[in-house]
Symmetry: C2
Subunit: 223 residues, 2 copies
Amino acid sequence: MKIKVLDNILKANNKIADANRELFIKNGNFVINLMSAPGSGKTTLIEQTHKSLDSALKIGVVEGDIETSRDAERLDRLGIPVIQLNTGHECHLDANMVSTALPHIDLAAIDILFIENVGNLVCPAEFIIGEDAKVMILSVTEGDEKPLKYPLMFHESKVCLINKIDLIEHTNFNLEEAKSNAKSVSPHINLMPVSATTGKGFDVWVDWLKSSFEKEIKSRKEN
Amino acid sequence: MKIKVLDNILKANNKIADANRELFIKNGNFVINLMSAPGSGKTTLIEQTHKSLDSALKIGVVEGDIETSRDAERLDRLGIPVIQLNTGHECHLDANMVSTALPHIDLAAIDILFIENVGNLVCPAEFIIGEDAKVMILSVTEGDEKPLKYPLMFHESKVCLINKIDLIEHTNFNLEEAKSNAKSVSPHINLMPVSATTGKGFDVWVDWLKSSFEKEIKSRKEN
């Protein structure tokens, strides 16, 4: 019974995700569902990505948070188009919540739309919201065993940014162990050590963004 | 309709939580529902607490994780009685899950039972599981604004341990700002800066544990 209810919820969600996706395709957006634990550095990553892209691609953001609009205000101060969603008691974004934000953002003026999910390593991975790719952040202060403890999110993500690499010497985080754990639950995941505060490693991440954007837009034109 | 379903779920949960609590009272257990984001140091905190208590009080642990039994194995190696719960897709423990673990642990041999919840700052705060107190960890690497972004967990917790204080100089975490944010959503919360790796600040935490245990056991005898 419980499974059937969940099944129906996911079916309804996927229908709305398809409608979101149509809108993204119409507007030429490459869309990233950005997920991580609380405090892993999602907003700082978007700030540093904006800086590293240096206007090569225009980004926009849908900010998901239980409460407050602090993250949206940070991005707004940098001139990034952003709309805040407050989920209240919901621990994740679903396609319907995202759909309510979209009329309030000028999608036609954006190349890459980041949808910053609620800080949570569990439920956000269960819902598609119309994205081209799920991307996650694991910060080194969280521990190298996290892929084994939260396998679904690693499994669903095309990229895992290993953030706060500047702090690694102060932790017992083993980078090779983390990579091997991530590959064991998600063999094709792209692992990118970065520091969102210093910008270290962002050349690889920005290259991935640019080539994924171009590949996706090209493939849409061919279809 | 949605609210009614949730309401019924919580009512059923609370009934089982009452039954768990009866068992805890019968066995003289003081029970802590330990919550935090993933990687904030819940298991390390229990290890250091065990060391700092130095047999003054006997602890036991119910370990909640989506997957793996790594944390339970760590505690077992220290001789701490522990039972692992794997929640699969569930992002929190509820009273029923906890009730399934209790027959497998010798409660009569334990003074303080830690129930280590799934790493998540949202849903664990919504469910009582029969505990005397909710205690949470915020680590300095997560940021000082977290009380404002996840207010329910701070509001429900009697104690917030501000962990990884040994890393504070490498972050932009402002301790006074964090305390003020926590007090603004939870005026009576006890804030305790600690380092679970070095043991710094554990005198205050262990004093709180001992006095809360004694007070609770005394009050049960009077009733």
